[in-house]
Symmetry: none
Subunit: 231 residues, 2 copies
């Protein structure tokens, strides 16, 4: 995983230079922020902090849930025909994508390039097989359903003449109860943090940051390790 951090780093590099200039100009070893900038900073930090906590909690909860119920069809996969009693006892007959598999699938799907060819499906299957039991049929079905249902969702309210991204998003947002809203916003905030605030000059003050290390090893860093986020 590497996100889009390439551009970000470049931009940050640039900021760092301005930064140093600033420092030289002022001839002090400190940096000055306006109240406004400080406000922005505070808000950002608090936002991240809280969002992180909520996400972490959610993740923890979901993981726990998965451990208990979502054992999908791990190793104990045996054919129903084994059952001499005529009924399958414990075998789960339906494939359930693991989170990792799902993510990969989603990525491929969102990557555009509509219908994956036969060959493509084979490749995908091979890749996904590394993360759990899966077959080509599963992959095929998944794309089939994904497409169909995505499409059907779209046509639910084609009332407006033109579908601007705003309309689309608004529509989808409406269909999604409030529980995910903050996620969208947070992700957006993350994404545009450096870009959106350029005008405010906040990011200039932020300067270049290249460390992924965390301010507080106890909270954040442990948080990461605790949930295996980097794995």
């Amino acid at each position: 995983m590497e996100w889009q951090s390439q551009e970000m780093q470049e931009q940050q590099q640039q900021q760092e230079e301005e930064y140093l200039q600033f420092q030289i100009q002022n001839g002090i070893c400190g940096k000055v922020m306006t109240d406004e900038q400080m406000e922005e900073l505070k808000k950002q930090i608090v936002a991240y902090q809280d969002i992180t906590k909520q996400l972490a909690e959610m993740h923890k909860t979901m993981s726990a849930h998965q451990d208990l119920t979502g054992t999908w069809l791990g190793n104990p996969y045996y054919e129903p025909m084994l059952g001499s009693f005529g009924h399958k006892i414990t075998a789960r007959q339906r494939w359930t994508p693991t989170p990792l598999q799902l993510q990969i699938l989603e990525n491929i799907y969102n990557q555009g390039n509509g219908t994956p060819s036969k060959q493509k499906i084979k490749e995908i299957t091979v890749e996904l097989a590394q993360h759990g039991q899966i077959s080509e049929t599963n992959v095929y079905n998944w794309f089939q359903n994904r497409r169909a249902r995505s499409k059907r969702k779209m046509q639910v309210s084609p009332s407006e003449a033109e579908v601007s991204p705003q309309d689309l998003a608004a529509k989808e947002r409406r269909s999604k109860p409030e529980n995910m809203e903050f996620l969208d916003n947070s992700a957006q905030g993350v994404e545009n943090f450096y870009y959106q605030n350029s005008d405010a000059g906040l990011d200039q003050l932020m300067g270049k940051v290249e460390c992924s290390r965390v301010y507080d090893p106890y909270s954040s860093n442990n948080l990461v390790e605790q949930y295996g986020l980097l794995g």
Copy 2:
């Protein structure tokens, strides 16, 4: 909500206080940060940013596509007992047919004519919409479930008198050890976001801000689609 980030907050607050001191000392309208402080801030924000993105991605994957239809927005549904101050302005999370709607649906169902088909569903939806909030998907689901469950009832009821293994298994399946409370947490979303932290002391410095959210609706949309957070 307090998780493990208590320390984090305290530390932040401490930093804040130092900033303010700086301001006073310097007697200027800006705040001065030392390099160390700036570094800390940078690290912290980047850490949050990184973690948030990863968590968001994971959550997207795990929770998968969980939306549909919609139409349960609209009327803020107040519980009678909430009375004066409905801090729980919860709109219904799932459609519930009104008695009238149910009656009509049952009639149509008993009327034979199996699958209502797309067109039929549209008509039914229109009719039912006169008696309450409803969408085509709701109707579709209702028939789908009605048929399926009626069918399943049929295999059990007529030959009742003993407990079939299936029946047992079906009932056993009901017991879900884990309830996803995270939904409740997340449902509070950004709205309550800042109020949850009221006791953290940090919000004193932050104020009751409600920004840190959407800076650019347009970008937000793109991101939402990119991450597929809304399905």
